[in-house]
Amino acid sequence: MSRLLWRASRRHLTRHPWQLALSVLGVALGVAVAVAVDVAGDSARRAFELASEAVTGRATHRLTAGSAGIDEDLYRRLRVEHGLRSSAPVVEGWVELAGPPRRGLRLLGVDPFAEPPFRSWAIAAEGPGGAELDVGRLLTEPGAVLLSAETAAELGLAPGGTFKLAAEGRRHVVRLGGVVEPAGGPARQAARDLLLADLATAQELLDVAGRLTQIDLIVPPGARGEELLSRLRGLLPAGVGVERSAARTESAEQLTSAFRLNLRALSLLALLCGAFLIYNTMTFAVVQRRPLLGTLRALGTTRRQLFGLVLGEAAAIGGVGSALGLATGVALGDGLVGLVTRTINDLYFVVEVRRLELAPLTLLRGGFMGLGATLLAALPPAAEATATAPRQALARADLEALAHRLVPRATVAGGLAVAGGGVLLALPGETLAASLAAMFALLLGCALLTPIATLGLMRLCGVPAAALAGLLGRMATRGVVAALSRTGPAIAALTMAVSVTVGVDLMVRSFRSTVERWLDYSLPADLYLTLYDTPAGRFAVAGGGLGPETVDAVRRLPGVEGVNTLRHVRLGGSAETATPALAIELDPRARSAFGFARGDPVELWPRFERGELLLVSEPLAYRRRLVPGSLLRLDTPTGELELPVGGVFYDYASEQGLVLLPRGLYARRWNDPTVTAVSVHAAAGVDLDRLAVELRRAVGEDRRVLVRTTRGLREASLEVFDRTFLITGVLRLLAVVVAFVGVLSALMALQLERVRELGVLRACGLTPAQLWRLVTQQTGLMGLAAGLLALPVGLLTAAVLVLVVNRRSFGWSLELAVSPGTLLAAVGLAVGAALLAGLYPAFRMSRISPAEALRDE
């Protein structure tokens, strides 16, 4: 009996290959997007971990001092005067190979004499070129560096060969002294992106003579270690702190967690689309076969067997779809990883991903999600198939009546889900995960509300459709209502799929328009002179900026009416754990660059300039729960500094957050007179291009400096923004593809099922042309319904993403911008896909003779 059942099932599926293929595709796409996002995120994180491990080695702790760096004499004092021998100096920075291909490498400067307890570098005595490694030359020759054998081979370099690289905005020619062969495993991976050099060489390449990035320590566990640490803290000068080596990875993890959660949420939206499509497919497969299922029940098949049959089919579709989805997801992840890395590099820290990380857990999760979502989506139709009495199951009319009876129930359930989601959102101080859960509840609720909305819409469309297309028009709208068991789930699924694309698109546009508006007022000067243009170089080591004489030279230029100076600085901690800060001295005209979320600028600015308070950016305030009046403690080279937070300003440049310090205070407490950016207010009528040339001249030979107009800087900033959101754009595009496939598959299946009905119509005298019109009108109507219903749902999704999720992940206040273009495009997408879906069925129906279509009778 059960073999017979399975054969019936197989026959049905193979007789509807389109339906089968499209439902498998739906699952596969949903899984692929989710897996791709995870794989890309995992790869970026793993690359960072590996790089950290390679740099951290066996160190347990490290001494750091933010961008002030550590005076190298501290290392000598610790070792020579205090006998602290389990220490190793490190100078670390980011350099770029001049290329081609351009490629970033982490420059690690170490002292080979202090290294052995910390890091394992096996230096191949013989390089690939057969040249012998000369350690003496590595130490004594300026610009001698080591690469991993793999990287050297990739770049076509042999030991002894020279190559060009850019570090901190300067170009250098370095010589490959030899190749490193780490012991293997992770270290080997990480070494591929390392440029290893003697500490002296690294200091010179990075232009940080006299300074160390960090001093690594091996502190024994237990009481002895505690004792050592407390002794050590007593020896450290102001501004230098001890942090655990693991803090760096943890911090990087924390920094990017919101970003990755957001990506995952977007990918889950895609999977949700997929799940709706699966639900639609399975429901359709069941209702389509009600006569068959009824016959089987009448022949003695038990409810359990039928239930198992439907779920078995779902499992098969889910399994195949998930497997395809996993494979596609990995391939897609390979493409996405570059985008994810770019975003991370722009927003957080520099990492170079060279290998795709396929965590078994990620793949397992993707597979389970696909299979689970399919089975879950198949549960209601399976339950429905088994719950009905055999005789009822044979009657289509009963089914439709039942479907209509279910509408009020679905409406109530949907209303409850929406209300629940709303309450969850309204609760104050909720976590990001709760907001995402709320968003999914809202979406589900909206999906349940679509049948009633569809009925309403069809009633509305009935009159104009009848007026425009007469009988056929009325048939089209009535057909949608009459076949609610089939059209209801289809329209719900389509609505969800389209609304997700609307939501994500509106979110990105809102974000961009907010940033654009922010850029409009945050760039009040006419010309900008900035040091470096890379995130890695944004925080030059103290003293490494432009000197006061350069600023004076700029101030004295004719045509310059006012000057603002900025000094980017990292406060405490290593590159990943530090707080970014900006020491500023502003012309009163430039104060408008800061818009305050909290605090009154008129009152704040004078107090800020007197050094009585600090200003913090919105993300920092959110992250650290700072409000005006909170005390912020900063470690400076001249001792601890504690000041109240005066106000919170809008800033969309750094997700990590930013502290504003008055320049005078910074110069005094950090002993650093340099700045990293100068902006200039030109006198009226001054030729900005000429002034830019003169600014360049005033700066002299410093090749690190970029001079840009307001427009140039604005464009560059938006370019970074667009690059950052490219990944979101790609995800949106994928959601669009899923939605499109969904509309196509659902409606095509629906029309293909109407063979008999249309055969009757043909037999009654409907011409093939009229049949075309009827089919396309009906699919078009359904597409229109889905597109229209998707608009409010999409707006709701966007509102939640913009006003709640982004705020809770990053602390940014964004303004919701509704673009009519997006809304029109969504409706167009739905209608276009729907019309396209009608083409093949209409074509087929018009080709076969009515007799053939009615042969079933």
């Binding site: 190298e72 052995p116 570098w121 062969e181 002296a200 006299g210």
Partner: protein, 385 residues
């Protein structure tokens, strides 16, 4: 003794390579790293061009010559001694500091870490009664004040590697590791003994293949030794060797047995036997006999008889070392039995060799005689893997 210096230079550079190679393991025999380079090739790799060479006898000036001679590629300060605690407990110690130049020209670079000198130091304390041998090694660049050697204002020397230091004369030696250390003051009571031809110690036929070499063979010593965290007052005699050169190795030589013996009759005897690969004594083997008044007489290879008595196999490295000798100087009617105060005095760090305190018993012109000293046995191990 340029063999010794040369070997040390080679070893130092080799150690540098291993350090760089690391693999987190100080012991080369377990390092899964790079193929070893032969010492000869390493030495050949460090070009002598640009360095000064020992071509002719020079005038030594003290204390200035205790200070560094940066024009030469290699130099070392080498202290060994036998000490006794008031209770009679015996200790041997060794503190050596090596400088090896990696390039002839001093660096003209922006970074204070830039250097052309690498430093290596060894500290060993032999606790004879406790049967324990504590040995440590350190490496550093000669930059940033981490390690270096300079002439002091009073003309003496300060040479250091982190917190291990040699200062004098009179010399103060300070070096400590957790639980083990020395802090000693060494009096200079005899003039320096110039080795070889007025301090020019020739090593081969090629001109300049020689070193400048002098010794302070008897330095009354007081201070403290720390063992197992216990600080003990000690007194005894120390021996200092100083040498600088830009020499190259000669083929055919395998290693050496070096003895610095302080006899109870006030005489000091230094002898090194260079062993050739075929097992014979190299004709460049030499020594010196210093009388109680400080008068020195050079000993040629033929003036000394040396026979091995007994052997010891290191459990750590598996190397078989001689563990006792019969040393005779027929011209002085001197016949001595030399034996290690402790068998296990092997350095197993980046460089493997045996260097340890020895006891001496014998006769001089028929009169019984005892003494103490240090022996160094190098070149016994198989080449490094």
């Amino acid at each position: 003794m340029s063999r010794r210096a040369a070997r040390r230079t080679a070893a130092l550079i080799g150690a540098l390579l291993l350090l760089a190679a690391g693999a987190g393991c100080r012991r080369a025999d377990t390092a899964s790293g790079p193929p070893a380079l032969s010492l000869d090739r390493l030495l050949g790799g460090a070009p002598a061009a640009g360095f000064a060479r020992a071509l002719a006898p020079r005038e030594f000036r003290f204390p200035a010559d205790h200070g560094p001679h940066p024009a030469f590629r290699t130099e070392w300060w080498y202290f060994t001694g036998n000490l006794k605690e008031p209770g009679g407990r015996r200790f041997g110690y060794q503190l050596t500091l090596f400088r090896s130049a990696l390039a002839a020209a001093p660096p003209a670079r922006a970074s204070a870490w830039a250097t052309r000198d690498a430093y290596m130091a060894h500290l060993a304390v032999t606790d004879v009664a406790g049967g324990r041998f504590h040995a440590f090694e350190r490496f550093s660049r000669g930059a940033l004040g981490l390690a270096g050697a300079r002439r002091r204002h009073d003309g003496g020397v300060r040479a250091w590697l982190e917190d291990w230091s040699i200062e004098g004369p009179p010399f103060r030696l300070r070096a400590a590791e957790p639980g083990v250390g020395i802090d000693l003051r060494l009096e200079v009571v005899r003039p320096p003994v110039l080795q070889g031809e007025a301090g020019l110690s020739r090593k081969g036929a090629e001109p300049g293949n020689a070193s400048y070499y002098y010794s302070l063979t008897r330095l009354p010593t007081r201070g403290s030794v720390t063992v197992d965290g216990q600080v003990l007052e000690v007194a005894g005699l120390s021996w200092m060797d100083r040498e600088w050169s830009t020499s190259a190795l000669e083929a055919g030589q395998q290693g050496w047995d070096w003895f610095a013996l302080q006899l109870d009759d006030g005489r000091d005897l230094m002898y090194y036997r260079l062993r050739r690969e075929e097992g014979t004594t190299d004709r460049h083997s030499a020594g010196v006999m210093v009388g109680p008044g400080g008068a020195a007489r050079t000993l040629a290879a033929g003036d000394v008889q040396l026979e091995e008595r007994g052997a010891w196999r290191s459990p750590a490295t598996g190397i078989l070392y001689p563990a006792g000798w019969r040393l005779g100087v027929p011209g002085e009617e001197l016949s001595l039995a030399v034996r290690p105060l402790l068998a296990a005095q092997e350095h197993t760090g980046a460089i493997r060799y045996w260097e340890g305190a020895v006891g001496v018993a014998g006769t001089a012109r028929g009169v019984p005689l005892t003494g103490h000293g240090y022996a160094e046995l190098a070149g016994y191990g198989p080449p490094r893997p």
